[in-house]
Symmetry: C3
Subunit: 179 residues, 3 copies
């Protein structure tokens, strides 16, 4: 579970950063940063745990929320720097999504034993945070853009599920390469 | 439970079709079709099961998701045909909503024994998929339109609850007639 | 628990009123009033209970939904009066939010024992109804406005959590005073 745990923190942090950047584009105050970062960072995992009937991950371990809050404050004070590194963030976003897809698929597989459910949970975990972010920020949903966003999540979840025995780093690099 | 099960598949398929049609109006790619069809098809039932504390229906039986995916792909390749049959689809939509309202009310009544909760769950199940679809597609919510949409759901749920002993076909035709 | 129970009804009623007023601004029919009032009134508490793994409060006690429905009908017939008392309602809104934040924090603290989770649940309970209302009514999210809305909720939740032994009336007046 340890590599998955680190992936989880990384995924939360990266998604929180994209939420905070959305707050920055909308010129919100620091509370808006906190909210958008948190919804984006933990929204996907929350829906995943609710649907699988598991205890919500950040209720068990609130450190995840503190990660989101820290990222939000960090981005609030450094947005001018990060914004110019937007390309970097897109890469991080893809990385976070691949991580999330893998974790969602792992949890779904563990909880139900069904590959179909595992793939769906992987996609849902990876995309729901971004969907929430766009809804709340009043931007066109990422679903409406002809991007490989969702495709990346689906591929990640499918690869993880099909190759649940493969080592995770291999899986990750495959997906990132694909993206 | 058997007639309810068939109704359930039919309701999921019809709602998935309306989600896929929304994807078609927005000229999304096939992934967008899959997502909108799935959210619309199973969104209402998911919220219903979460609120009632039941296991999510499509986690137990992923065939529901495959129904959504099949409908999405079907509509993706035949949207030009289906779009011109929009009137037919509106009728199907009303049918699906009546079915969903009945199922939601049945589940709510079974899980809590409260008629008030049963009526609410019927309405929620019947309308939430469409609400999600409109939110995600960036269209004005169906709630904002002066349609009989929600009224139909409410009537269906109320009729089912009041007449839980009546045979389902009667119930259905009543609601469809009303719409 | 008794003062919390009264606060809960008051919070639900006040939020339902803001939902119904949003329906009034959008010139919806009575069904739209019912839906927006209900989603706003019980949305925050529903998400709170789902995340904490508790039974949903209005499934146990459907009187909450009847409160929303009554408020919706009341506002539907008296909106011209209430609208001109909008200032009063803003005050009530702040009061309702402080009440909700305290209840959410109390439930979160009771269910998990974690102050971090308690503060988050307080904020979430207090703000989610308004977020839903704005999403469904197609208005810019309250999160995007440079208001003290969320700050008030956060303060209320934090104060309640830090001073869980203090008497509630004191807590309430503090927050309202702050707002």
């Amino acid at each position: 579970m340890n590599p998955l745990l680190y992936l989880d923190y990384a995924g939360v942090a990266v998604f929180a950063a994209t939420g905070a950047l959305a707050a920055s584009r909308k010129e919100l105050d620091v509370i808006g940063f906190l909210f958008l970062a948190s919804f984006t960072g933990i929204g996907g995992g929350t829906v995943r745990d609710v649907i699988l009937g598991l205890p919500i991950f950040w209720v068990i371990n609130p450190a995840y929320v503190l990660v989101c809050a820290s990222v939000a404050v960090l981005v609030f004070f450094t947005a001018h720097l990060v914004e110019s590194r937007y390309k970097l963030l897109l890469w991080l976003d893809a990385l976070g999504m691949a991580a999330y897809a893998a974790i969602g698929a792992a949890k779904g597989l563990e909880a139900t034993g069904s590959p179909t459910v595992a793939i769906i949970m992987g996609m849902l975990t990876a995309t729901f945070g971004g969907i929430l972010r766009d809804l709340l920020a009043g931007e066109p949903s990422v679903l409406l853009k002809p991007e490989i966003y969702v495709s990346a999540a689906m591929t990640g979840a499918a690869i993880y599920t099909l190759a649940e025995l493969a080592e995770l780093p291999t899986e990750l690099s495959t997906v990132v390469a694909f993206v």
